[in-house]
């Protein structure tokens, strides 16, 4: 009954084009912001931060990145893991080469470096489409991981071949290294998620986003209208890789602390992020959050339920977790092929009329 546009008059085009046209949605958005930035940091435990919130936030960013490329611009990519590795190694090299540089800018610069690499690997997209492009990006995935394994310069010639994040702080609070307070790491990631989601909304609501979507929906018509396909596709690759690079940098420096490319940034990560955006919803910002939440939080929830709730041994619970998550993915895709974002949209359309059917 609260969820109405009735009585909420739009008197300018700016009002009409706002992100949340319904008043209730706007309030919900502010509530989410307050919870995310004022309430969770106060109460967050080490366990919650380490195994739920930080991976969730990091993968939100990665999912936003891939969604820009796949959901908005229609270019399939299986190179997400490789590009996350670029972000991680860029941040490692920057942190060790410029110890004075603030970690915030290190992460941003890592995104920038990844954007350049991503645009380079996006070049084949001009000639190849669909599955064939997916295979081409797969090459990027394997090449990049191989590169970071084989060229010692990238891991500063360390004996183990691993990279380890040195301690760095923002406003005197550690966000990387061995002694990080849970709330500090959480807030650091949350700020990035907020800024990047805002940026994504800006890019997708205007000319740039419409260019991407035009290429996605009908590339020939887009070109006839005046969209330059080369620049549009490369910009999608660059922006997408910028996001994925930031996700990789945060994944390594804040979440893992120490990483080794084959395991941390393998093809599994590429698939994980791809599942997130398919389950969450292609071409939707909310879908990125929903998909990341589903893929990160559902296993943790199931594990807690089975191990703590029902007293099963951990090994069995782990196996069952795979089975159940797999079944849930299939079930969701059958129920709603357009993802959780579409379910959300349908629910909102129903809510607008509730409790009256017409």
């Amino acid at each position: 009954m609260l969820y109405r546009e009735a009585g909420d008059y739009k008197t300018s085009y700016v009002d009409d084009a706002q992100t949340f046209p319904i008043a209730f949605d706007r309030w919900r958005y502010y509530v989410v912001l307050v919870v995310a930035f004022a309430i969770i940091p106060v109460f967050i435990s080490d366990y919650m931060a380490k195994s739920v919130m930080i991976p969730f936030l990091v993968f939100c960013i990665a999912a936003m990145g891939l969604n820009i490329l796949t959901g908005y611009c229609g270019q399939v990519s299986l190179g997400t893991g490789g590009f996350m590795a670029v972000g991680a190694y860029a941040s490692y090299k920057l942190m060790t080469a410029f110890p004075e540089l603030n970690i915030f800018f290190v992460v941003l610069l890592s995104g920038g470096i990844t954007a350049a690499v991503g645009a380079l690997f996006g070049l084949p997209s001009l000639r190849i489409k669909g599955f064939y492009l997916a295979v081409a990006t797969l090459a990027a995935q394997f090449f990049l991981v191989w590169l970071f394994n084989k060229v010692p310069w990238f891991f500063n010639y360390s004996a183990t071949g691993q990279i380890t994040a040195p301690p760095r702080s923002v406003f005197g609070v550690d966000v990387t290294g061995p002694e990080v307070p849970a709330w500090g790491a959480y807030l650091f990631c949350a700020v990035f998620v907020f800024l990047l989601a805002w940026l994504m909304r800006n890019l997708t609501r205007g000319r740039v986003g419409r260019q991407w979507m035009a290429i996605r929906d009908m590339d020939i018509a887009a070109e006839i209208i005046g969209v330059n396909p080369l620049r549009t596709k490369l910009s999608a690759f660059a922006v997408s890789s910028f996001y994925v690079g930031i996700a990789g940098a945060l994944f390594f420096s804040v979440y893992l602390g120490a990483a080794e490319p084959t395991e941390a940034f393998g093809i599994n990560q590429s698939f994980l992020v791809l599942f997130m955006i398919i389950i969450g919803g292609l071409g939707s910002i909310f879908g990125c959050f929903a998909g990341a939440a589903f893929m990160i939080m559902m296993p943790v929830l199931l594990k807690n339920l089975m191990v703590d709730g029902m007293g099963w041994p951990t090994t069995i619970a782990t196996h069952f977790e795979f089975v159940i998550v797999g079944a849930l993915i299939v079930a969701f895709l059958i129920l709603e092929p357009h993802g959780l974002a579409q379910l959300w949209r349908l629910m909102k359309e129903k809510l607008r009329l509730w409790p009256f059917p017409h």
């Binding site: 085009y13 700016v14 800006n202 890019l203 205007g206 000319r207 929906d217 396909p229």
Partner: protein, 285 residues
């Protein structure tokens, strides 16, 4: 020309139509906008278009007709740069056109619609038409990323123009509907809107009335005539419905097997023996 200017011009046209009652020609067909000189287009061994020349004059409605496979759509594809003819010259607004990409030609002011609707299915009507104005948007990537300020101002300014087109085409009610959900006739109308949004110097319509019922055809005819009248847009269209072509076209060019067999006013074309033969067949006795 901006739509405001076009509206001012349409006032002139209104006066002109009053003058028409006194025997004065209402629409001023101007000089040549586009000239095709000896165009030949081959695909491997197949010659789709053979040595065709014709011109399109400012403010006129120019129809291209012909039986199936005559090379009409190929001709439009040559005009908007999708195909590059092996021989011949294309002159647009007094300058010879070099080899250009389709998006560069769009930026020169040539817009088109497609025989099979080529809308952006996942986007709303509004977004589709806004995309049509893309070549006129000047803010750069960084301004777009920041949104507040110049990008938003630009968006609102273009939205105003787009709303005028939406009003003109009477599609206010489907403004926020994804076009994939719209019926065929409305999709055709949205596609026309998207082409109009670019404020083209030359508008190419590839079978704008294909697959429509009589009522929808009449609506579409009215829109085409209104576009031509109010905005003064030069239009080149391909159409199979002879009644429509004879009614709305100023001049008609007839193609058959990639050759030009007739060119002139509808009356002249109708009287042309080659055209009658092409359409009705030649008796062999």
């Amino acid at each position: 020309m901006s739509i405001h200017a076009a509206e001012a011009a349409s006032d002139d046209v209104a006066y002109a139509s009053q003058e028409e009652a006194h025997g004065i020609e209402p629409r001023r067909i101007g000089g040549t906008v586009m000239e095709m000189k000896n165009i030949t287009l081959r695909f491997g061994g197949v010659t789709a278009i053979k040595d065709i020349s014709f011109d399109i004059k400012e403010h006129e409605i120019r129809a291209i007709i012909g039986p199936n496979g005559a090379g009409k759509s190929s001709m439009l594809n040559v005009i908007n740069g999708f195909y590059h003819p092996q021989e011949g010259e294309i002159w647009f607004r007094g300058a010879k056109r070099g080899p250009m990409k389709p998006y560069e030609i769009a930026q020169q002011g040539i817009a088109r619609t497609f025989q099979n609707i080529a809308l952006f299915k996942g986007m709303t009507t509004l977004d589709n038409i806004m995309t049509g104005r893309m070549t006129m948007m000047k803010t750069n990537f960084w301004q777009q990323a920041m949104w507040w300020g110049s990008a938003q101002r630009e968006e609102v300014e273009h939205r105003r123009r787009v709303e005028e087109i939406i009003d003109f085409l009477e599609i206010q009610a489907i403004r926020k509907t994804p076009v994939g959900r719209l019926p065929y006739g409305l999709q055709k109308r949205v596609e026309l809107g998207r082409a109009l949004a670019a404020e083209p110097k030359l508008l190419l319509l590839d079978e704008p009335m294909a697959g429509m019922n009589v009522e929808e055809k009449e609506d579409m005819c009215r829109f085409i005539l209104d576009v031509n009248d109010e905005f003064g847009t030069t239009i080149a269209l391909i159409e199979h419905d002879m009644g429509v072509v004879m009614d709305i076209a100023d001049r008609v060019v007839v193609l058959d097997y990639g050759r030009k067999i007739g060119d002139g006013t509808p009356e002249e074309v109708r009287a042309n023996q080659d055209v009658i033969d092409a359409y009705l067949g030649v008796s062999h006795d």
